[in-house]
């Protein structure tokens, strides 16, 4: 038992595909309990029994397509026109534009590629120090994870069986808190260079709005539709995918039709990578629930930890370590089924747990050794990974502080849910 676990762990750390490790451990569990191994493919087939999953390929495709168009450029121009007059406004433009774009493209690292390339030179030109720019652009790439319709929020709703609409509402204030805290720090640390990028001008706002006229309906329809309850999440996703496809290929013609198969394939590679892990972890979770692992875990934790406050503290520490070694999607499907029952034992609201989970895992994008954004930024801006890491450190500390506030102030997440 321990030997098999140890070998699998070693193979995982050497870089075996994660779904293979989960599959192997599930099969080992089945084998030891005399369950027929054909139970595993049957569990994977369970992917076809979760209606909400439909939203994920649709939003992923729409996000990939948006990042290939000129939408990022227009988004930066519009945010600049609206907020560029604030002293130190460019940093805030960066945070706001990235958060918005990440929420819409599902936190798969495309934000840094699509927006970072525009914002990084602009920040440099405005006289911000290089390390600040690197840190800002790299850490902005995962902001917005808590805003609808981000993929991790949807996936948490699927795995934890929590209404996704509730999660979308619960994420708003904690997400804003992160933004405000980071913006405050950016303003304070750059108080020497407070020159606004531009004076506020109505004509620039008008022009920028006019240029963005095709994209502006998108957030209104999607967010308005979801928050008002008119659209189900998967309907909003289908509308988004079709709309973005028509606008970018037929109306604006910014994406050549010959590029479409590549974009479709690339986005489906990401979806396949996430869903195959989801399928395998459906199998391993089932086995673990049969073996009463969550109960045992709760009893074990309960014998050492009595108060909710201590539990939450340990949870954050655990999630930070987890975020450093696992990407957010795998962590969601693997760990949530195990810690959800434990957290409920400590009276943690499942919706609040989801917000804590994602807020803490968001930092995982920025922590070595596998922080995705560190690698993307290092590759994109041609800087060493150590320099990127040091430059993101202050941002990481601010995010950590915000994670503590979000965790110990449940009302921030739950106040708008009437409960």
């Amino acid at each position: 038992m321990i030997l098999v676990g140890g070998i699998l762990l070693l193979l995982a750390l050497l870089g075996a595909p994660l779904f293979v490790i989960i599959a192997a451990s599930a099969m080992w569990g089945y084998y030891r309990n005399d369950v027929d191994l054909s139970a595993l493919p049957i569990e994977v087939f369970g992917i076809a029994e979760m209606p909400v999953l439909l939203a994920i390929p649709l939003f992923t495709f729409a996000g990939y397509l948006l990042s290939e168009s000129n939408a990022p450029k227009r988004l930066v121009r519009l945010t600049g026109a609206l907020m560029g007059w604030v002293p130190g406004g460019l940093a805030i433009v960066c945070l706001a534009a990235c958060a918005f774009f990440t929420a819409f493209t599902g936190a798969s690292g495309v934000t840094i590629i699509a927006l970072g390339a525009l914002l990084y030179p602009a920040l440099k030109q405005a006289g911000y120090p290089e390390n600040f720019n690197l840190g800002l652009v790299t850490s902005s790439g995962s902001l917005g994870l808590l805003f609808a319709p981000s993929l991790p929020l949807i996936l948490y709703g699927v795995v934890a069986a929590v209404p996704i609409d509730d999660l979308f509402i619960a994420g708003v204030l904690p997400g804003l808190l992160m933004l405000v805290m980071l913006a405050g720090w950016c303003l304070w640390t750059n108080r020497a260079i407070r020159t606004p990028i531009d004076q506020f001008s109505w004509s620039e706002v008008r022009e920028a709005v006019w240029e963005t006229k095709w994209e502006i309906p998108l957030p209104i329809v999607v967010l308005g539709g979801i928050y008002s309850g008119y659209f189900a999440v998967s309907e909003a996703a289908a509308a988004t995918a079709l709309y973005v496809l028509l606008i970018d290929v037929l109306v604006l013609r910014e994406v050549a039709p010959s590029r479409l198969p590549h974009i479709m394939r690339d986005s489906m590679v990401l979806v396949g990578g996430i869903f195959i892990i989801l399928g395998m972890s459906l199998a391993s979770t089932n086995y673990m629930i049969d073996a009463e692992v969550p109960d045992k875990l709760f009893r074990f934790v309960g014998s050492y930890v009595s108060s909710q406050a201590t539990f939450l503290f340990l949870l954050i520490v655990f999630l930070l370590i987890l975020g450093a070694i696992l990407d957010i999607f795998s962590a969601l499907v693997l760990v949530v089924p195990l810690i959800l029952p434990v957290a409920q034992g400590y009276d943690v609201n499942p919706v609040h747990l989801g917000i804590i989970f994602l807020a803490a895992m968001q930092m995982g994008y920025l922590t070595p050794p596998v922080g995705l954004n560190l690698f993307i930024a290092s590759y994109r801006f041609d800087k060493s990974i150590t320099q990127i890491y040091l430059s993101t450190l202050p941002f990481l500390l601010i995010l950590l502080l915000s994670v503590f506030v979000i965790t110990y102030w449940p009302a921030l997440s739950l106040v708008m849910l009437d409960r």
């Binding site: 293979v20 439909l54 309907e235 590679v269």
Partner: protein, 162 residues
């Protein structure tokens, strides 16, 4: 011969993904239109959409294995020398191929059983053709990693990477 086969395979794989995603978007959008504007809808559409998601997911996973793009942890391998790294990768390839073929084998059993018991989907259609993506996808992923295994062994022994 193998190269042409691989080319055809790649084309089929990409074409399947593109066609299925287009159908998914089209059908999901039609369904919204019918539901909200005409106040009706296809009864079978929701189930078909869910099956399409499964197919897309598994075909996407096959496509991810083409470029070895599966999600992994990989913290130790950067401390290994080139030769040891190749050897470790070859070992992982073989392990992946093995696990995938075991899954494919049992998935094939699951499909045969569904065929034997005449399970149905979508209000009467036989279920097994829809389920057959399971053994096919895992067999393809396993096949890809078996090829990777031979390549990496070759590279570890000769020092030449193809």
């Amino acid at each position: 011969m193998l190269k042409t086969l691989e080319k055809i395979g790649r084309f089929l794989e990409d074409a399947t993904l593109v066609v299925m995603l287009c159908v998914l978007i089209g059908l999901a959008a039609t369904q919204i239109f019918l539901r909200n504007v005409m106040d009706t809808g296809f009864v079978w559409a929701d189930e078909l959409l869910r099956l399409l998601v499964l197919w897309l997911a598994l075909m996407g996973a096959v496509a991810a294995s083409r470029d070895d793009k599966h999600i992994r942890i990989d913290v130790l391998s950067r401390f290994l020398s080139r030769k040891w790294k190749l050897a470790a990768t070859a070992l992982l390839d073989l392990f992946t191929a093995l696990i995938c073929s075991v899954i494919a084998w049992h998935a094939a059993g699951f499909v045969m059983e569904a065929r034997e018991y005449e399970d149905t989907l979508l209000g009467g259609l036989p279920a097994w053709p829809f389920q057959s993506i399971l053994p096919i996808a895992f067999a393809l992923i396993g096949y890809r990693y078996l090829i990777f295994f031979f390549r990496h062994i070759y590279a570890a022994l000769t020092g030449v990477e193809q």
